[in-house]
């Protein structure tokens, strides 16, 4: 049903006239009277129509031109064949992702179309979109470029990802590659506690995530809604590492001591800047972005209980059923060291998973929790259910 999509905007009116001329052969006189007149010569049209009618026709044609000018856009490849543009669902922040996609387009000449996530849904919103489209028996996107890992694992388990081994991922450690080649992970961000060093001295900042459940801390902490985004994966990691009982008790304490639930990591950080809270559980990039703007804010990597914090890599995956060769080239590009370097240098500030690149950039690998990524994905449903029953009710 992509009848309309192949036309570009300048071709649309012409295509419509041609369609009318074609229909003219078969049309019963009254049913197709209007299109038949449109299909007449321009001179006849001008003579027979008064101003108001011409306005109507123009409106109609504009609507049709509009209707045929977007959709799944196609470009010519080197052989002159029409190839659909790869479509990317992207939950890496727009300001960084747009720059990288533009670079890809400049280097390869391939145009890509991107749907970014929104603060309301973050990664989970795009994941549900992929699931919904999969359930409906169709696929709109070719590539899923996610700012986190655990939802990508779940998509792979649901059979919504296409196995593909990127040619640029050989130097990525195995922990950050799916054995079945459903996804490839790159630069990690850490889950951290943000605070204003001018307001809260470093010695008053908690050192482990369990400290958040303290009566003196929870009430002064902003936490993004754990049903969405990286906070969702973070809570699932707590359940995976601590077990169900301790995880639920933690959530109950957060509720009892009135942790402030906000609708996104950035909103949590904004709460610190506005002086409404002392701490915000967030991702490293949210702190880097604000720090670069000169705000007084700092972060601390908190201990998950096993000596390290949760590090969440970005992931790139090809979606099930995508046969677009340009989409594969895009995946190769997105997992390349070049992109990992760009993201590391940007305010996104992810730490490369490639050891040699970290060395080159002089970046340190934070102490990482040993929690198993697959176990976190296993715990996701239980954690989300617990959040709904305890925290968001």
């Amino acid at each position: 049903m992509r009848l309309l999509s192949p036309f570009n905007s300048h071709e649309a009116p012409q295509a419509f006239f041609e369609s009318c001329a074609y229909l003219k052969q078969f049309a019963p006189s009254t049913l197709f009277r209007f299109p038949l007149i449109i299909g007449s010569s321009r001179r006849e049209l001008v003579e027979s129509f008064n101003t108001r009618t011409r306005f109507l026709v123009c409106t109609l044609l504009s609507a049709i031109a509009f209707a045929t000018s977007t959709g799944c856009k196609k470009d010519s490849n080197g052989d002159g064949a029409q190839v659909a543009r790869p479509v990317v669902y992207c939950s890496v922040d727009e300001q960084f992702a747009r720059e990288i996609i533009t670079k890809f387009e400049a280097e390869t000449g391939i145009k890509a179309e991107v749907v970014f996530d929104s603060e309301a849904g973050k990664t989970t919103g795009l994941v549900n979109r992929i699931i919904d489209e999969g359930k409906a028996g169709r696929r709109r996107a070719d590539v899923f470029w996610s700012g986190e890992l655990f939802n990508t694992i779940l998509l792979g388990r649901q059979g919504l990802l296409e196995p593909y081994k990127p040619s640029t991922a050989d130097d990525i450690p195995e922990r950050y590659r799916d054995p079945g080649h459903h996804w490839t992970a790159t630069g990690v961000r850490g889950r951290v506690l943000a605070f204003d060093p001018k307001v809260t001295p470093a010695d008053q900042v908690p050192t482990s995530w369990t400290d958040l459940a303290d009566p003196g801390v929870a009430g002064r902490t902003a936490l993004a809604n754990p049903l969405f985004g990286t906070t969702r994966g973070h809570v699932a990691a707590m359940f995976a590492l601590w077990g169900s009982e301790k995880g639920r008790a933690f959530l109950e304490d957060l509720r009892r001591y009135e942790v402030r639930i906000v609708d996104g990591n950035m909103t949590a950080v904004r709460n610190i800047l506005d002086g409404r809270v002392a701490f915000a559980a967030t991702d490293t990039d949210d702190v880097w972005v604000v720090q670069r703007r000169g705000a007084s804010i700092d972060l601390r990597y908190l201990d998950m209980g096993d000596g390290g914090t949760l590090l969440i890599p970005s992931t790139t995956a090809l979606l099930r059923g995508s046969t677009n060769p340009d989409a594969r080239r895009l995946v190769d590009f997105l997992v390349s060291a070049e992109v990992e370097r760009l993201l590391a240098k940007s305010a996104w500030g992810s730490v490369p998973v490639r050891p040699w690149l970290r060395e080159e950039l002089g970046m340190e690998w934070p102490a990482e929790s040993k929690v198993d990524h697959q176990a976190v994905a296993d715990s996701m449903d239980e954690a989300v259910q617990a959040v709904r029953e305890i925290l968001i009710r």
Partner: protein
């Protein structure tokens, strides 16, 4: 003959759009809920947290509605009386305020007011400062309609008694319509509360809609709000029917000297409009971000404006098509109003359920779905305009035209459309402006073809990209100026001699 068929075709297209954007998604959502009722998540039912958010949202929307109406009284008086250059300037100012998405004003006021300002107060204030011109315009039309009886009353009683016994009873239905329109707009708004750092009911439902698969988990938490809002709407509709205005005729407004009234009104308009925009411009610092915004987002801006204007046109044509409906008019009007009163995220979800199918891919993957989404959200404005226009079908002129052989289409074309072209122009721009600031539905139905400007602005706000945020906001302000000028010229009756 050709023109008549052309008009019918266009009107039919609008009805088709209404079926596609309102009726079909409703059916799709109900079907999906029935299919999923066994597997629905038990946590998705209406929770205490959502109940509190619902109450807060209703209170916030009601408070902003009351404040808007309060602010609207003096300007409405001025609007109803004045003509000429001052009137034109005032209308230009009013249109300028309304035709810019309200979240733009939040960014301005936030930079002016202290950071410690209560976010609820900020939200209430920004909404009221943006929306009072809408109430003013509606109240002013009521004021004009009852001017005759009011002046007659003045001959026999004092001003106070004339106001209490004639003006107030006649203005009540217009105040009711204003309250209805404003409340529904505030209740469905996501951008302003979000920018103020508030979680309201619209935020919560969007979260559910974006983060769950299927419609059931969005529908269940939406039911209490939908019932509450529909009951409120029904109460207002009943009140309006029970208090039909007594004034029969429409009185031409006269040139009167109202002294400080018009200047107070003008000052209010300028304060609501120019203060936040000037503050934003002041904080812009440099010109370069404007160029960068235009370079980076030219394509997205073009398509954002295109889809919003297309939705505006569609709503205007829908308004015309409802005029020609007879038995089905109240059904389709009621349906569109009920759809407009739904949480915006549920509207988006319904569209996804309706069009996310292989056979509908040509629409679902296309920018047209965004226009359809805006149409779903704001068709109720067209339906209300249609009701206003349909009153002309019962006029003496229409009856005479029918006797002379005019068909309903002819009456619409030659009688009703010329009389209401100003209303329709305002409707197109109003819907376009609301669409440009729409977030919940847009979030759920966005397409790969372009990034809607409302979502880009929200993203810039989150990422503290102030320069780009201000640049994009100012581009929206600049785009609203020609529309404001058009409306001011059309409604203000700008006369050449007034300018000389």
């Amino acid at each position: 003959m050709i023109a008549r068929w052309g008009i019918r075709l266009v009107l039919f297209a609008a009805v088709l759009a209404a079926v596609g954007a309102i009726v079909w998604p409703t059916i799709a959502v109900i079907a999906d809920c029935l299919a999923a009722r066994e597997t629905a998540n038990s946590a998705a039912v209406f929770t205490g947290r959502q109940g509190i958010l619902l109450l807060k949202s209703i209170g916030l929307s009601a408070g902003a509605t009351a404040l808007s109406l309060l602010l609207a009284i003096v300007p409405a008086w001025g609007l109803a009386q004045r003509r000429g250059t001052t009137h034109f300037l005032f209308l230009f100012c009013l249109s300028g305020v309304v035709l810019c998405p309200p979240m733009v004003y939040v960014f301005g006021w936030q930079r002016l007011l202290p950071a410690s300002t209560n976010p609820w107060a900020m939200c209430l204030f920004v909404w009221a400062a943006w929306a009072w011109p809408i109430a003013s315009l509606i109240l002013a039309s009521g004021w004009q309609a009852c001017q005759g009886p009011y002046e007659a009353a003045l001959l026999e009683a004092g001003r106070a008694r004339a106001i209490i016994h004639v003006l107030v009873p006649n203005l009540r239905p217009y105040a009711g319509v204003s309250a209805l329109v404003l409340f529904v707009m505030f209740f469905g708004d996501y951008g302003v509360p979000h920018a103020c750092g508030l979680i309201v009911y619209a935020t919560e439902i969007l979260g559910w809609a974006a983060n769950t698969s299927g419609a059931m988990e969005t529908v269940l938490p939406s039911i209490p709000a939908t019932i509450t809002i529909l009951m409120g709407l029904a109460a207002i509709a009943w009140f309006m029917l029970a208090h039909q205005p007594n004034a029969a005729g429409h009185n031409e407004s006269r040139e009167e000297s109202f002294g400080p009234v018009i200047w107070v009104a003008l000052a209010l308009g300028l304060a609501s409009w120019l203060v936040p925009i000037t503050v934003l411009l002041w904080h812009a610092g440099a010109v370069s971000p404007f160029g960068e915004a235009l370079r980076t987002y030219a394509f997205d801006l073009r398509w954002s404006f295109g889809t919003a204007l297309a939705a505006g046109f569609l709503v205007a044509v829908f308004a015309c098509s409802t005029v020609l409906m007879h038995r089905t008019r109240f059904l389709i009007v009621g349906w569109s109003v009920a759809f407009g009163a739904l949480p915006a995220a549920l509207v988006g979800k319904a569209l996804v359920m309706g069009f996310n199918r292989p056979e509908m891919a040509a629409i679902y993957d296309h920018a047209a779905i965004v226009s359809l989404g805006y149409f779903s959200r704001f068709a109720w404005l067209g339906a209300l305009a249609g009701l206003v226009m349909a009153r002309d079908l019962r006029s003496e002129s229409a009856a005479q035209a029918a006797i002379d052989g005019a068909t309903p289409t002819d009456i619409l074309r030659f009688l009703i459309l010329p009389n209401h072209r100003r209303l329709l122009a305002a409707l197109v721009f109003m819907v376009a402006a609301l669409s440009l600031g729409e977030v919940p539905t847009t979030t759920l139905i966005r397409v790969p073809a372009f990034a809607p400007v409302s979502l880009t602005i929200i993203e810039k706000f989150h990422r503290f990209e102030d320069e780009m945020l201000i640049a994009l906001s100012m581009i929206l302000v600049a785009a609203s100026l020609p529309a404001a000028l058009t409306i001011a010229r059309a409604w203000g009756g700008l006369r050449r001699q007034a300018l000389r």
